[in-house]
């Protein structure tokens, strides 16, 4: 059931979501770099400010004060547009993340941006939109290497989008709804990570590829392929791509939380719902970072054959088995 909220509440929630994301991303970059240090048996950034806490500020200042250079062959307006698409499509996904049920904090508002009846579709759609950021970014750079990089990224994202969608359909069929709030509500007995464990594993692998994180970070394989689509971007435009990647990471972690880990469910009163959601999302983010420093990057042909020859058949099989089990019971 979709609760109706006033426009004012929706606007207020949009502002809150934007502010929270804009605050969380710099913190997340710091946390990632700090954790990277710990994984490497070192401290990580600890020079700027107390314990290095002001490092994101210094990074932002550096990016903002850098020159926005572009090759002569570039298409300037499109080059400006690409990072904006990346940020917008990422942030749009955050609107549907359920942080708590409708009346968790009293009052006539739910702890989510908006509860759309097609939430999963919405998530996949905006995930697909972020291809355009990569494609346009690489193509409008006017550099053939950027273009090759963007083709590589787009091919990867499209390949893994299929498995991502298929692994979520198992959850959708079990819950009987595309709305994330309904999906969380239907996990009152058991979190879907148990009955849909195969789907969860497939989703996680595809999620790594979809958010372009290691071991599938070929779109910006910084150490051997020199980024790719974002090579020609400098300053805050490059920063925006980076920002969008982190937004995507949070969005996917949130979708995983809602679809497989029972969303806001946890012990304690219902008012604690956002806390549980945040904790679960934080756990996923830690996993993302943890895996990044454990697994080596895949080769491109390995990436493709893994996606199409292993992940896709597995996802289809999972879907079939889920369908059969649902029909039988």
């Amino acid at each position: 059931m979709i609760e109706v909220e006033s426009t004012l509440v929706l606007i207020a929630k949009a502002i809150v979501i934007f502010l929270v994301v804009l605050t969380v991303i710099p913190i997340l970059t710091l946390v990632e770099r700090k954790l990277m240090g710990r994984f490497h048996s070192r401290y990580g950034p600890n020079r700027v400010g107390p314990k290095g806490l002001l490092q994101p500020l210094a990074d932002a200042l550096k990016l903002l004060s850098k020159e926005q250079s572009a090759p002569e062959t570039a298409v300037p307006w499109m080059m400006a547009l690409a990072p904006a698409i990346a940020i917008a499509s990422g942030t749009a996904t955050l609107a549907i993340i359920p942080w708590g049920p409708f009346d968790a904090w009293g009052g006539d508002f739910g702890l989510y941006g908006i509860d759309v009846p097609i939430a999963i579709l919405y998530f996949l759609a905006f995930g697909s939109l972020s291809f355009y950021a990569f494609l346009l970014g690489g193509w409008s750079s006017g550099s053939k290497y950027s273009f090759l990089g963007s083709m590589r990224s787009a091919a990867q994202l499209i390949s893994y989008e299929v498995s991502l969608g298929l692994s979520l359909i198992g959850v959708v069929m079990t819950a009987g709804s595309l709305s994330l709030v309904d999906i969380v509500e239907s996990q009152s007995n058991i979190w879907y990570v148990v009955p849909q464990f195969a789907g969860f594993c497939i989703f996680m692998v595809a999620a790594f590829a979809e958010s372009a994180r290691a071991p599938f970070d070929l779109p910006e394989a910084d150490s051997e392929l020199v980024a790719g689509y974002n090579t020609e971007f400098g300053g805050m435009r490059f920063g925006s791509f980076l920002f969008a990647e982190y937004i995507e990471m949070i969005a996917i972690a949130a979708i995983a939380t809602a679809c497989f880990l029972g969303g806001w469910r946890g012990p304690g009163p219902e008012a604690l719902a956002p806390l549980w959601t945040a904790l679960k999302i934080g756990g996923f983010l830690f996993l993302f970072i943890w895996v990044r420093f454990t697994l080596p990057r895949l080769r491109y042909d390995q990436l493709m054959s893994f996606g199409w020859k292993l992940l896709l058949p597995l996802a289809t099989l999972n879907l079939l088995v889920t369908a059969i089990v649902l029909v039988v019971t």
Binding site: L35, F39, S41, Y43, T294
Partner: protein
């Protein structure tokens, strides 16, 4: 020809790639890798915060050279024989000797080094100068913080080599 195979060693081969076994092994190895990296977090950092913390060097550590004086008379030990310059494989030592006079007694011998320069941008810190010196006038010190803003600042003169370093490099005992 009997027994010509006896030297052959069986080389263990990895399991065949592909199949369900490979999937299982990959999964297991992934988990093992995750455990390994997480162990680093549990273990904590192994870092020496260098400018604030320093590892002590051993006394045998060959750092920046020192020229020495006699402790009782205060005269320089160096007599300007240029043996160090001759021994130097990098040709970074320049010595110009001059005669001691009764009014100007600089060293204990007949002559002294009027100019004694070591070009530390060329020095390879081999310590041959120390070995070559018949009077133990030049020894390798323990200072290794030698960076500077220009190359000419790294040509150390006799006064700089004779002076005590402003900051003493922490030392540790042999075998510590």
């Amino acid at each position: 020809m009997a027994g010509w195979r006896d030297d052959a060693i069986q080389v263990p081969r990895g399991p065949e790639p592909g199949g369900l076994g490979a999937v299982y092994r990959t999964f297991g190895e992934t988990l093992r890798g995750l455990r390994t990296t997480f162990g680093r977090i549990v273990e904590g950092p192994h870092v020496i915060q260098y400018p604030e913390e320093k590892t002590p060097v051993y006394p045998r550590f060959r750092g920046r050279h020192k020229l020495h004086r006699f402790e009782d008379t205060g005269l320089e030990k160096c007599v300007g024989c240029s043996l160090c310059a001759a021994a130097c494989p990098a040709k970074c030592i320049r010595v110009v000797a001059a005669e001691n006079t009764p009014e100007n007694q600089v060293s204990a011998g007949e002559r002294y080094a009027a100019v004694y320069e070591i070009n530390l941008t060329r020095c390879i810190f081999c310590g041959y100068c120390e070995v070559a010196c018949p009077f133990d006038a030049i020894t390798m010190g323990n200072d290794y913080e030698l960076s500077d803003y220009s190359r000419s600042d790294l040509i150390f003169t006799k006064e700089m080599l004779l002076a005590d370093p402003p900051e003493h490099t922490p030392l540790r005992l042999e075998g510590e």
